[in-house]
């Protein structure tokens, strides 16, 4: 649709402003992560670029370097101690394991469930949306205390068994993400015409062959997009991870430990926070096209 020039300008300015507002915190976070402490705590002004960039914060959180040593090496003064507590490599590893595991479990269940809901008739099929919404009504904190008890009883606490701890966290993330993943996958599967299934059946494929050889490859993009979303939700989850695990410290929980009794390590928080955005960012770039289509939940037909 052609629009007039003034209208186009207004539209573009609005778009840039909105994106700017949303992007500013991320920009500020990234900027903070390369600031020395003196620039982070500037009481007299808002300091945008008047500082010498430093990668101390990344060095300490991502590469396990000693903060005091780095500070001395680079000649920008002494920091306080506690270097090892800020080494987040273990946390990143744990986050990766939990998030990938949760994504794998979620997607394995979601594609089958979504196929059934998209293609088969059964009682209660139409209530699925209510179930999804129902899951979203309840904030996780409402079930947190009983959940911790259940996990303790079921032996899913990492303090009892580290592997079960991982498994427990993956399971709760999978549970949390399943409704949205199924809903997304359903919308992608609904986009594959039923005729294709029928053509495959006439061609001699069994139901499972139809699913595996015909339908599934046609929704590869959708699977990737849904998986990325599930991964991001798992990657950024804080509350459940905080309560259900002790030994395992996923990145969001780790960041929270940088708020200490002796002060908040803003530089480290910003560095680890910025680094944590990167995987989500890359994944989203990769599946952007499918993600937008998926999030409209099939309402846009080509």
């Amino acid at each position: 649709m052609e629009s007039s020039r003034p209208l186009r300008i207004v539209r573009d300015v609005t778009a840039v402003t909105v994106v700017g507002i949303f992007m500013f915190p991320i920009f500020w976070w990234a900027l903070t992560s390369i600031k020395p402490i003196s620039a982070i705590f500037d009481k007299d002004r808002v300091n945008f670029f008047d500082f010498t960039p430093t990668f101390i914060n990344y060095g300490v959180t991502l590469f396990g370097q000693s903060r005091s040593q780095l500070a001395i090496d680079q000649g920008i003064g002494m920091g306080v101690g506690g270097a090892e507590a800020y080494d987040s490599r273990q946390s990143i590893m744990e986050s990766v394991i939990v998030s990938l595991g949760a994504t794998a479990i979620t997607m394995a269940v979601a594609v089958f469930a979504a196929y059934a809901i998209s293609r088969m008739m059964f009682r209660g099929r139409s209530h699925y949306l209510n179930w999804v919404l129902g899951q979203r009504f309840m904030p996780p904190i409402a079930i947190l205390v009983p959940l911790v008890t259940i996990y303790k009883t079921a032996g899913l606490r990492d303090t009892d068994n580290l592997y079960m701890g991982y498994f427990g966290l993956m399971m709760i993330y999978a549970l949390m993400n399943l409704p949205i993943a199924v809903l997304l996958m359903k919308s992608f599967l609904d986009d594959v015409p039923k005729d294709v299934d029928e053509a495959a059946m006439i061609d001699g494929a069994t139901r499972f062959q139809t699913f595996r050889k015909v339908v599934l490859p046609m929704v590869k993009g959708g699977i990737a997009a849904s998986a990325v979303l599930v991964f991001i939700f798992s990657w950024t989850e804080f509350l459940l991870s905080l309560f259900l695990t002790t030994e395992i410290r996923t990145v969001p929980v780790k960041i929270q430990t940088f708020v200490t009794s002796t002060g908040n390590e803003w530089g480290f928080i910003a560095a680890l926070g910025t680094a944590a955005i990167i995987p989500s960012f890359v994944f989203i770039l990769l599946v952007q096209k499918n993600l937008v289509r998926g999030l409209t939940l099939g309402s846009l037909k080509e």
Partner: protein, 350 residues
């Protein structure tokens, strides 16, 4: 031997019966078109033959074998869908050979059959392309290729041309007809387009609301429609259907206009009838008066829409006539081409 026999087949969805006891014999090697408006049950009937819909009552036999409970893949049929239903992630050759691969046929045989099909359908240059890289017509040919490599007993086509543009549709119509001439495989073809039906079929089966209204060769249903519905449905522009009453002089349309009765008919004096005459079966110059409403020159012929006895009619002539709006001219129906239908039952009287 008949290829497909349909005996008193019914289909219900819950309490709603959509196909009401259809009997139909499809001869071996014939091209049968199921024709009707949307919702007439033609696609449902085809899908029951394919095994994609269960049969509520009656029997379907393919090559003399009752197939009501046979899986689609074991019915020895192949189907072409309206939206092609190609496997988007497979190359053309894999689309065509999918059924053979599933049947675990030797690779040499698969290659040979795909080559053969590609040659028939002019798809050779496209075998290594993906469906998205093909035009609509080419995609439809791939769908046909997928059907013919299996060498089935019956081809089923479900409105295969309705997604194509007008020009391509005409071209594909010819191609499908040619393919049938060549392979002589029994074909059941569903469409709502009466031109497709007329041009391609050996036998047209006209359905409405789950009943067969008439079956016969294209010219039979065109020349001898069994009822008002068929008369109206077949032919473009459609037959003029004028309401009137039988008098001793002919059929009185109102406003004093009377049209002559055909020599043989079953109508009684005073009976309310519908007088049917196709636009091309008028003689210009004498007969009943009509007032011009619109003149449409199509090139080969002129379509004249006019008012006759208070009812709208269309007349076609290949002569170049110069008529203007509101001009009165005279039309004489060719008596051997006149149809009479009972006004209440719609059944043909002559």
């Amino acid at each position: 031997m008949s290829s497909v026999t349909i005996k008193n087949v019914r289909k219900s969805y819950g309490n709603l019966e959509v196909v009401h006891g259809i009997d139909l014999t499809i001869e071996d090697g014939s091209f049968v078109v199921l024709l009707g408006p949307s919702g007439c049950g033609k696609s449902t009937l085809l899908r029951m033959i394919a095994g994609l819909e269960s049969v509520t009552g009656g029997d379907i036999e393919i090559q003399g074998r009752r197939v009501n409970n046979v899986h689609p893949k074991d019915r020895n049929i192949a189907m072409v869908f309206q939206n092609y239903a190609l496997y988007a992630h497979m190359k053309v050759k894999d689309n065509m050979s999918f059924s053979l691969q599933l049947a675990k046929r030797p690779k040499a045989e698969i290659d040979e059959k795909v080559k053969w099909a590609a040659k028939i359908l002019n798809l050779k240059p496209y075998l290594d392309r993906y469906p998205r890289e093909l035009s609509g017509g080419q995609r439809q040919r791939v769908a046909m290729g997928r059907a013919i490599v299996r060498n089935p007993a019956v081809f089923l086509f479900d409105e295969p041309l309705s997604n194509l543009d007008a020009k391509l549709r005409v071209q594909m119509r010819t191609e499908i007809k040619e393919l049938h001439e060549r392979l002589k495989t029994t074909t059941v073809y569903v469409t709502h387009d009466q031109i497709e039906a007329m041009t391609m079929a050996d036998k047209i089966v006209i359905l409405r609301d789950g009943y067969i209204e008439q079956e016969g060769s294209p010219l039979e249903v065109y020349d001898k429609p069994a009822n008002l519905f068929v008369a109206e449905f077949i032919g473009s522009p459609s037959m003029n259907l004028l309401k009137g009453e039988v008098t001793s002089n002919g059929v009185l349309l109102g406003e004093g206009t009377t049209l002559p009765l055909p020599p043989v008919h079953k109508a009684a004096l005073g009976q309310k009838v519908v007088y049917g005459i196709r636009p091309e079966h008028f003689t210009f110059g004498s007969g009943a008066p009509a007032k011009v409403v619109v003149v449409e020159p199509t090139g080969p012929e002129m379509h004249i829409y006019a008012d006759m006895g208070g009812q709208e009619i269309c007349a076609i002539t290949q002569d170049r006539v110069s008529l203007t709006r509101d001009e009165i001219f005279h039309l004489q129906p060719r008596l051997d081409k006149v149809h009479l239908f009972d006004a209440t039952s719609g059944k043909a009287l002559a």
